[in-house]
Symmetry: D2
Subunit: 340 residues, 4 copies
């Protein structure tokens, strides 16, 4: 931690700051500039983070030196994390191979899910997505089939061999969801739901953590740190669009988050272009771009009859378009030296 002091700081103020810092077991080092003096604080930044150093008289600003996350940082792990989501050799997120996760926004009925699951498996997806609990802005919108939806997911897994990822919105639902799912999803609206993060951190299932639509890169890593800190080391980070002033698509897909996250953390980073754009027509190009940006997987919405979808039908690919897209993704993956 570095403390930058005001130009006109008095010696008494300087002494007071030093005493406060040293009282926490840190050492200090003073550097006097032509106009301003800085105080270097040697020791554990975490101790000082809890103090209100900004409030001390004579302090201009406080600059942390150490990163506040540890378990998620690249320094913590010598190698990049690969998260196994199923038993088959290719059912892994992370590593050299790029994966595709696909399925409908919400589970609507047994047949639709089964048909979609078969289609996406045949096209090359390695995991099935589908929401049984749906976070909806309006209380009057379809809220999901709950346990019945989970059962349909488990049946689709039995039929296709695809592991399933589904969203958990409430810590109280976790035991039920764990009975059916292979991977837990924490949605964008719950990235800051710290109770839920701790709870999934205690689960034995991997967690797909979506970036809050107004979360910084730093916030996302800190939320992953909550999960890791509870002992669950299988965390997948997912960029899914952020809120900006532009309204031409539903959100602004922040693909730069992919290389930036990968420079800071050892966790796999995936991209959900569907929810970011909310418009089916742009999903293929942004999927290709996500692969080129270095994403470890894509999560794409596919619905066998988008016009009839109960939520977000506007954005889902048809199975046909999805099947055409996968080989093109494979082409870009090969061009950057990765497999799919």
């Amino acid at each position: 931690m570095i403390i930058i002091t005001n130009p006109g700081i008095t010696q008494d103020q300087l002494d007071h700051i030093r005493e406060q810092v040293e009282a926490r077991g840190m050492r200090t080092r003073i550097t006097r500039g032509d106009k301003q003096t800085i105080i270097g604080c040697i020791g554990d930044d975490d101790v000082l983070r809890e103090m209100a150093l900004h409030r001390l008289p004579g302090v201009q600003s406080v600059v942390p030196v150490m990163k506040p996350y540890k378990l998620a940082s690249r320094q913590f792990s010598a190698c990049l994390t690969e998260v196994r989501v199923g038993d088959a050799p290719d059912q892994v997120i992370g590593g050299n191979a790029i994966a595709v996760i696909a399925g409908p926004c919400s589970v609507e009925n047994r047949d639709m899910l089964r048909e979609t699951a078969l289609s996406v498996r045949d096209a090359g997806a390695i995991m099935l997505r589908g929401g049984a609990f749906k976070p909806r802005t309006s209380p009057y919108s379809f809220q999901g089939l709950r346990e019945e939806g989970l059962r349909f997911l488990a049946e689709a897994r039995a039929t296709t061999g695809l592991p399933v990822v589904t969203e958990v919105m409430d810590p109280r639902d976790l035991p039920m969801i764990e009975k059916y799912a292979d991977c837990l999803q924490v949605g964008t609206r719950n990235m800051h739901n710290f109770s839920l993060l701790k709870e999934v951190g205690r689960s034995s299932l991997p967690v797909l953590l979506k970036r809050g639509f107004s979360a910084t890169i730093y916030d996302l890593i800190m939320s992953a740190e909550y999960i890791l800190n509870e002992g669950n080391s299988n965390v997948i980070l997912c960029e899914r669009g952020i809120r900006t002033f532009d309204n031409s698509a539903r959100y602004t897909l922040d693909l730069s988050a992919v290389p930036i996250l990968k420079s800071k953390t050892h966790l796999p980073v995936i991209v959900d272009p569907t929810h970011a754009l909310g418009l089916r027509e742009f999903v293929p190009q942004m999927s290709l771009a996500a692969v080129a940006a270095g994403a470890d997987a894509l999560m794409i919405e596919v619905h066998d009859s988008p016009e009839q979808a109960k939520s977000d039908g506007n954005q889902a690919l048809t199975p046909e378009i999805f099947a055409e897209l996968v080989p093109r993704l494979r082409g870009v993956a090969a061009a950057i030296g990765r497999e799919m």
Copy 2:
């Protein structure tokens, strides 16, 4: 709902759209312009909202006519809602009198809370705030005293006569919190936590709902609608700063939200300048501005020893500064024809 069609729409496409809409029990009305045709859909917009009308061939865009919220809208209630938070005559949020809620960010110990509570009561606050469960970005930060903190709050109420408002982060904690608190707070990070919203909607306690730091005005009203829809009509809306590109304060306080919310909903609207700014020195002026903008109450952080605070000490007012501020707020209230 109005459907704007593409310039080159075919008659078949037009017929298909009409059929889809009319199959849901709506009537349609066609208006042909020089270049584009529009379809007016007469009936309940909610039915169409669930359809993927955008996806139908020939559709350019879809414009809703009716607002998606009902219980929160001004049309729903002839008079403005006043939320009673305690038994004393002035312990009300809403109405002509402007209230002040004050207290520390988090409950740290019995003595600090008691001293602060006495100070803010004597200065004119009508409710005590204090967090026993703290949502913190880092898992390594102080997370609150939990039930012990709630007990300290109840003791401070007994001492001062002030009702207490405290944050609930997890539906599972609600029964415990209800034993101690007079008003439940849903924090900015949980405004989209729909499970929690439903749960507090079933409580008999009033709910102070903070705007998500990246929630639109519309989102905030829809979250209030979740609570109202469960039967709890005592909802207080709170503007507390939004995320923008500017970094000169912690958040950007959106005071325009006050008159805009009051034009759309009958619920009381309050302002938390402390968390918006994160910097003590700007809190008094923004509190005065919030009163002038029409806020029904202010929520201000006060700590009797900010330098020692376990969280956010940087932003709390001292009891002395708070006591000086209240009469100035009263002056602005009087200038706009309100009491305090």
Copy 3:
């Protein structure tokens, strides 16, 4: 400037950084922490700002200590700047009295302008606003009356005694505008037009500099610095709304900018609530709030027949509503110890 180095920096890298810095005439001071070393650079930060210190091997981050603006800073001027815009005693922006500037968005014709000018003068405005050159998003929208509009402004001044402020969009128009106007306005879309800033910096007229709708507080001060640096010390800063994700009003009025700017600079700070909101009905309350937040003046759009306005009629107050508002503003001004 402080350089924070990477945990694993080598001695060679450290020496190289020191050499680079000292080659610019700075002194360095090394502080070794438990894990990381920092280098304090003593001397003029401006020299180092031009260097690519981040690029040097071993550097983690670079923290400036000194502010990059000088002439605009509070440290530069012992007293707050008051900008005289006319000869009458009250035709000043800054100081204890709060001023009101009013008039139509654009100058449309002689009679309308004259009538509006008389109305706003009688209601208490001290300066007339009106655009002769209009920056419009669409090339097909009304672009202003140009010199004819300037003449109408000068006539309205002759009639009312009110000085006039009008926008300059192009350095080539400046000589013509200087013949008619008393104060130059740089609009939100030109806050980063550095050629224009330099040009108005050489003018003898005061400059009303509007914040770019996506400019940080820092950007705004730096743009003022451009004007001050050319020798024009009469700069008025104007908050007028910023772009955010919320779309319930045209922009988000950032009233916190008022006290924050006033803490950093000696220049007067004013607020334009009309353009921020774009909706007439919310202008009165946000005007009251701006006064309470500490604004030195308000700039409010008034049109004697808003329904007929050629631009932005939706947002202008009628002369009657304006005349009712001014005494209420005076009441809030008095409540915070200022005059109007």
Copy 4:
């Protein structure tokens, strides 16, 4: 244009709205819903855009049907525009081949520019970039070599055969710049400088128009419309990062803008990853992603000695890294069926 009226509109109000609209030569068509009535206005939306329809009593909202841009729209041009920037067959932006534009941020001296130009040409660039006039946030930063810089650019063109693109900040500089440059750049801070847009619209040189860092997609197209409307049909649109709440890179690169712009306009769309990120290490991956997203060209900063750069050295690639990147870009281009 569609006018949605308030639920409680009176017949008199309805008649008044119709009269106002029909007085402008439009026809109206009334559709009565269960709760609300809508008025379809048949004729040219532009006429109504100038009216303050929102202000009329009884109006809830106004929905435009026609797009406000014409010349830039896909409907206007049957084929996609290709902009020729030089005489060689491959010196074109747009079409199936993807181009690379490269060079230093600012022109610093003759030798540096010549060396960099030779490097980027040999690596595959088809146009040289370099700023002679530099828009800088601080008036104390290096502002460019002006005409001397332009001469160096022309010399580099003579040496390498590469056409040059350089920024114009001031309409008064345009005649001088036109003597040296092959393509004019309008920078992000001038995208809303309508005087400048009109001026470059009258030039015979093509214009590379950068998106304002807080401009919507719509704003960008409207600024292109200004240029097209003056007769210059050679406009290249450039995404270069937008301002958001996230601060992990300098701006957030909005790659979705590429397919969205291409769906709305016939103009070529290029990407500048360097200025978006401001961090050299992420430029290669985002360049690959931009190609995959469908960009027609990339503009990449290259400096032969980034540590010594006078501006933004932090973000420039070395010629070596650039030379390694081009074949990888070519690989992705081939994978999506395009050439480079």
